[in-house]
């Protein structure tokens, strides 16, 4: 593809709300908390913001039609050009990709990027809002629910690589433990493999402690051109590569054991970043982990482990905070929470703080100069990838 960065763009501020099962706050209030925090941490004034990107996933969760337009003033969009980015769960990273090209294009020097989700409004349970993800004629009448597709994918992944539930449960153990040090975390907990496997079977092979919760929350970052970043920010975090890819919605016609779309998105981002050996050149990763097996699935798609080998490396401590390639040091979706669109931005915020040495108790042991965040969404379809570096 021969992509070359036209104009350097940096992330110069970040903010995150608490991630909660049921927030008192409305979606707009949550967006404001996160956006204001990001703006303050960037050291910019509101008038310095020239454009806004808002990412929020199905309108069906908050139950507000044209959700972004409704959230807009809480996201700082008053009288400003704004863009909505929506690729389901992939939105949180996709939002930064869109913020990137708002600034890289030369049209704007700054962009406030906000991601929000308020799932708790949806009754009888937010899971119900996912029903429409399935084909209206050929699938919904079978009594589908969202857990099915993850369970089907997890089973396929385990079958092809001959993996055990214990190997997968280690992801829950790692991430929920990492989340104990995250101030926003919804369900941080020290659990053992035995406890994970003893937890309720929801849709075999998925156990309850292998699933991320439904969450209300918001996150935001401020992105700026090189000029602005160098003037106001002591340690800008540069966007080095972006990539995104969509696979077919005919998900029963694909082999689910490997996420091709993540590999293609990663390839696009790595090429832009000039990365030829991701396992050496990426120092920290935040792959999307809505289910425990998904982190492993995505690490392989990102090229950070051979196919089927991520569980082996995990068992050796390779992906721990003090390991060679820390993965989900934030605690991921399994520990911090999963407010669909905002989950990905939480991962980007984590990279921002880790690369600047501001992650406190979560700070990884090894020196880090370059990290990758990845989000996933839709019907096992979307890969969105961003490489950030200092």
């Amino acid at each position: 593809m021969g992509l070359k960065l036209r104009r350097k763009v940096a992330v110069i501020g970040a903010g995150l709300t608490k991630f909660m099962r049921r927030a008192l706050e409305t979606g707009r209030e949550l967006s404001f908390y996160a956006a204001r925090q990001a703006l303050d941490s960037a050291g910019l004034r509101f008038n310095d913001i020239e454009s806004v990107v808002i990412s929020t996933a199905p309108d069906a969760f908050d139950g507000v039609h044209m959700k972004t337009e409704w959230l807009a003033d809480g996201c700082g969009s008053f009288h400003r050009p704004y863009l909505r980015g929506y690729v389901g769960g992939g939105s949180g990273v996709f939002a930064l990709i869109q913020g990137w090209y708002m600034v890289a294009s030369g049209m704007f020097d700054t962009c406030l990027v906000v991601a929000e989700e308020k799932m708790s409004s949806c009754q009888p349970h937010p899971q119900g809002a996912f029903n429409t993800i399935f084909d209206h004629t050929l699938e919904r009448d079978l009594g589908v629910n969202l857990l099915w597709i993850f369970a089907l994918e997890m089973n396929r992944y385990m079958q092809v690589h001959k993996l055990s539930l214990e190997e997968i449960a280690l992801v829950s153990v790692k991430n929920k433990k990492n989340a104990l040090d995250h101030p926003s975390a919804q369900i941080p907990k020290a659990v053992t493999v035995e406890e994970v496997l003893a937890s309720e079977v929801m849709a075999w092979p998925v156990h309850r402690l292998m699933v991320s919760p439904t969450t209300d929350g918001a996150g935001a970052v401020v992105m700026a051109s090189e000029d602005v970043a160098r003037r106001v920010c002591e340690k800008p975090v540069w966007v080095e590569g972006v990539g995104w890819c969509l696979d077919s919605a005919f998900w029963t016609n694909r082999d689910l054991y490997y996420p091709d779309y993540v590999e293609k998105a990663a390839k696009m981002a790595y090429e832009m970043a000039g990365i030829t050996d991701p396992r050496r050149e990426i120092h920290i990763a935040e792959p999307y982990d809505p289910f425990a097996y998904k982190e492993l699935h995505h690490l392989e798609g990102l090229g950070l482990a051979d196919r089927g080998q991520a569980p082996k490396l995990l068992a050796k401590g390779f992906f721990d905070r003090d390991g060679d390639l820390p993965s989900c040091p934030s605690g991921g979706l399994l520990g911090v929470g999963n407010p669909i669109a905002a989950a990905g931005i939480m991962k980007c915020c984590e990279l921002f703080w880790q690369l600047r040495g501001e992650a406190g108790k979560r700070q990884v042991s090894r020196p880090v100069k370059r990290g990758v965040a990845q989000a996933w969404g839709d019907l096992m379809q979307v890969g969105t990838v961003i490489v950030l570096g200092v």
């Binding site: 908390y33 099915w148 079958q159």
Partner: protein, 165 residues
């Protein structure tokens, strides 16, 4: 340590019920057109058959049938009757329904690769007449259709897939 000053007030179940809330019934109903490819598929189901479609460009035989090949991006209309037998590509044993309520007797969704379709091409359906313990990837299964008089041209004209004896 970042993030600092995280804001947001979590409500537990009781707190949510005590908060001021506004209820809204969405009442959204839809009447979806099938399109010509899925219509043909459903007509086939009514007749007790499973119909796929062939792409003349890449040669893949696909099911559910579609009006264009999504990889070649050309219109296709070469319908092909497939077998009602296949193999389980992957499955799950589910104790949870769409509204997060629990059920005692599990449902067994599966992706079934149908004979006659290209490798790896399958459909979503459920398994029946089988002990969950006995289900395995690669298991040979066959479709069990409703009685002819009860078929309506819907995916549920197939009741379930059961293991081939």
């Amino acid at each position: 340590m970042k993030p600092d000053n995280v804001r947001g007030k979590n409500l537990d179940k009781k707190g949510f019920e005590e908060a001021t809330r506004v209820k809204y019934d969405l009442n959204a109903e839809y009447a979806y057109d099938m399109g010509y490819a899925v219509s043909r598929y459903l007509m086939g189901l009514k007749e007790g058959k499973i119909v796929g479609i062939k792409c003349h460009k890449c040669g893949r035989i696909l099911v559910p049938p579609r009006a264009f090949c999504e990889q070649c991006y050309v219109p296709i209309d070469d319908f092909v009757e497939l077998s009602a037998r296949g193999r389980v590509n992957t499955f799950s044993i589910s104790y949870v329904k769409w509204d997060a309520s629990r059920i005692e007797k599990p449902e067994i969704p599966a992706v079934i690769e149908l004979e006659g379709a290209s490798p790896g091409v399958g459909i979503l359906h459920v398994l029946g007449e089988v002990d969950p313990k006995d289900v395995h990837v690669g298991m040979e299964v066959e479709a069990v259709f409703k009685e002819e008089k009860d078929r309506k041209g819907e995916i549920t004209d197939i009741l379930y897939f059961r293991p081939v004896k």
